[in-house]
Symmetry: C2
Subunit: 103 residues, 2 copies
Amino acid sequence: MIRVTVLYPNKPGMRFDLAYYVEKHCPMVMELLGEACKGFGVDQGIAGVMPAGEPAYRVVAHFLFDTLEDFQNSFGPNAAAIAADIPNYTDLQPIIQVGEVRA
Amino acid sequence: MIRVTVLYPNKPGMRFDLAYYVEKHCPMVMELLGEACKGFGVDQGIAGVMPAGEPAYRVVAHFLFDTLEDFQNSFGPNAAAIAADIPNYTDLQPIIQVGEVRA
């Protein structure tokens, strides 16, 4: 299984509309990706443990796929549409990476 | 629900024993945390999407708890024992943060 992790850095003073992200953006992404995407999750960073204090990331989201090809084939054609929605909820630039689920 | 995310930066030349982490470290953590920890997951970073290229994080792990208190009360007394095991599988220093699951 493939987990795509999306990390929004916790930069002071930047805008992030969590309600829009959860209620509008992620469902839009799920609809665009279709059956290839098996689910998503969204965490709101509340505290850092290491280092202690503020969380490094304001929001951590993930999207699940059965295979790397499922991700590539569904995300590729929709990447521009997905990216075009980002300014609707944040000024932050996310880090996005693909991981293989090992446990 | 609370998700604790653990991010090991992808620094070239550094050691990370994924088999030890999945088969020894995480089960040890689960045993120390007891019933407070509802599960864990481990992803091996395989590619960056934004930025493209190498993944920002070599390993992304997460641990789930029902409440912040469950995490604090189970992790606090075991933090030293857990940290003491890190050199057994890596030289990397993880970023660890607590998030509240919003979706």
